[in-house]
């Protein structure tokens, strides 16, 4: 089974995000970059499926040459080869990303695509679903459990109000939620081996995708900060403060 895992490079989720002083973008000085945490879960799931059913795990990134660092991490975890679509730093919206992935899928013909449900920078939660529609494939988003049987995937999805189970025919798009698995760390031999693994770069213009964005960002701003209030010394004072704020429902 061949599994394609698109991964995005994002800021470390524990880093402090602030705007540049001129508001032109997010200040990335001293920010550590990682694989988008949801995509890392997707890589792990792909590796587990390969370990069980055999096959190949291909990692795809769409960004600038620095993004190779994140592809190498996925290769060190155990993925077989990497593809970088070099964007030359061009702004791409979610829809353009989805259509680029479609092109790669047409070339690679994977049986399954596993990816994060959202990137922790844009927080858009769109690409997996867009991709499914463009391919006319079934989607199983927000997956917390994935089993492959014959030519089908049985997926437990995290939904409002509980858990839903669906069955999708392969090929399909699965998007990973937090509780799908706990990703492994890359081992030292893994890191050494990763250096030898194949990594192909495709220039974005070679794909012939219309890159005109359907949505653009016009302005970024910082939300009003919530100020720390007061500290109370005990439960009695807490209750009288809540009464004063009229915060109690009775």
């Amino acid at each position: 089974m061949k599994i394609l895992v698109p991964v995005k490079r994002t800021h470390d989720p524990y880093s402090k995000i602030k705007l540049k002083s001129d508001g032109s973008g997010v200040d990335m000085t001293n920010i550590k970059f990682v694989i988008n945490p949801f995509d890392e879960i997707a890589v792990e799931e792909a590796l587990r499926k390969k370990e069980k059913h055999g096959g190949e795990v291909v990692v795809l990134s769409i960004g600038t040459p620095e993004w190779v660092d994140q592809i190498r991490v996925a290769l060190a975890m155990g993925a077989d080869r990497g593809i970088l679509v070099d964007t030359g730093g061009k702004y791409l919206d979610q829809d353009a990303i989805a259509r680029i992935i479609v092109k790669v899928i047409e070339e690679e013909k994977p049986d399954l695509v596993i990816m994060g449900k959202q990137a922790i920078d844009d927080d858009s939660n769109q690409v997996g679903q867009l991709l499914s529609e463009y391919l006319n494939w079934p989607q199983a988003t927000f997956a917390s459990k994935l089993d492959i049987q014959d030519n089908k995937a049985i997926v437990v999805r995290e939904i409002d109000g509980g858990l839903e189970t669906v069955e999708v025919e392969l090929p399909a798009i699965i998007t990973a939620d937090l509780r799908l698995n706990q990703p492994r760390y890359a081992s030292l031999p893994g890191i050494m081996k990763a250096k030898q693994k194949p990594l192909k770069t495709i220039k974005i213009d070679e794909l012939g995708v219309d890159l005109n964005p359907k949505i653009v960002i016009e302005k970024l701003e910082t939300p009003p900060e919530r100020k720390a209030g007061i500290k109370v010394k005990d439960v009695d004072e807490l209750i009288s403060k809540l009464k004063e704020l009229k915060a109690l429902p009775f």
């Binding site: 769109q126 679903q129 079934p138 069955e167 509780r179 915060a247």
Partner: protein, 319 residues
């Protein structure tokens, strides 16, 4: 030309949380001069259709013929309604259904999509949050067709506006057959829904053991509150997944949010910082939650919470 507003149903009734989409549609209608329609999908639609008629929409489209939700079949229903109504906008609330479905509709109708908007500036520009709520972006959709999901906490639940919309029943037979709905395991709870509750009591890692959750349960009972949780508690399997409040869980903005034993990671804060009054109870005075709490109590939760519950109980009964 118009705005198509998607409302979710449960047991044949409109979900209250869906009504935020109508408020967004009204804002958009005001700014563009367009009319808005409503679409509902499912079985036994008669009652829900009647209810949907009272929200000032021009037409209520009620689509029959689909058993159980899948994005693929709902997308077919919505496409059919859009073809019939000529809608240029599709709006849904960013619930697990809205998030799953809306991009699929967007791809289908060639629309640009803005996820979980918090404000309508005009017919093409919207505000939304990025980076776990640390950045507000103003985004512009450049395509003629536009798809929006709405952050429920940013738009009030619409009130009925009188009048009566036309109802159109449509029957469809979805053609997509590569996905099969198997089952839903619903989280059993007698509490109010997390995103709709006036009071939310949330529990974090500080609770130490799932056995201890009864302490916060009792507090929630007195307050008639919904129970929420930090990621750590859900990851540990101490509470079900749909209790998680945060960047990737639910977004809540109740009148009162009580964080018990929660340190306040940015991913959690992203889901609750618009609450009106935030109370934090934590034994670590350095916990980041105190930086955003209106009222902080540095205390051992195992002593403070039962005491709070007892005293609130007396206060409640005294009235």
């Amino acid at each position: 030309m118009g705005i198509l507003t998607f409302l979710e149903l449960k047991d044949g009734q409109i979900k209250k949380g869906s009504l935020s989409a109508i408020t967004c549609a009204r804002n958009l209608a005001e700014k563009t001069g367009l009319k808005y329609d409503i679409v509902i999908i499912g079985d036994n639609l008669e009652k829900a259709a009647e209810e949907a008629c009272e929200f000032g929409a021009k037409t209520v489209f009620a689509v029959k013929g689909i058993q159980g939700y899948t994005a693929e079949s709902y997308k077919e229903a919505i496409e059919k309604v859009i073809n019939e109504s000529g809608a240029k906008y599709f709006i849904a609330v960013g619930t697990s259904v809205g998030k799953d479905l809306a991009p699929r509709v967007a791809a289908r109708i060639g629309a640009g999509m803005a996820s979980e908007i918090i404000e309508v500036l005009d017919g093409e520009t919207f505000k939304r949050l990025m980076y776990a709520g640390n950045i507000i972006a103003t985004v512009k959709i450049k395509t003629e067709n536009k798809v929006l999901t709405v952050r429920g906490t940013a738009f009030d639940k619409a009130e009925k506006s009188g009048g009566k919309s036309d109802v159109k029943f449509i029957e469809i037979q979805p053609s997509f057959n590569k996905k099969r709905f198997i089952k839903v395991e619903e989280t059993k709870s007698t509490r109010p829904e997390l995103t709709e509750a006036q009071v939310v009591v949330s529990v974090g890692r500080g609770i130490k053991d799932p056995e201890n959750i009864k302490i916060v349960d009792e507090l929630a009972d007195v307050l008639g509150a919904a129970l929420g949780a930090s990621r750590a508690v859900v990851d540990a399997g101490w509470l079900p997944n749909d209790y998680q409040v945060g960047q990737t869980g639910k977004t809540v903005a109740p009148q009162l949010y009580i964080a018990v034993g929660i340190s306040g990671a940015i991913q959690h804060v992203a889901g609750m910082k618009d609450s009106k009054v935030i109370v934090a109870i934590n034994k670590d005075p350095e916990a980041p939650i105190f930086q955003i709490a209106d009222v902080g109590l540095v205390a051992d939760l195992f002593k403070a919470v039962p005491e709070l519950t007892e005293k609130l109980k007396k206060l409640k009964e005294g009235k």
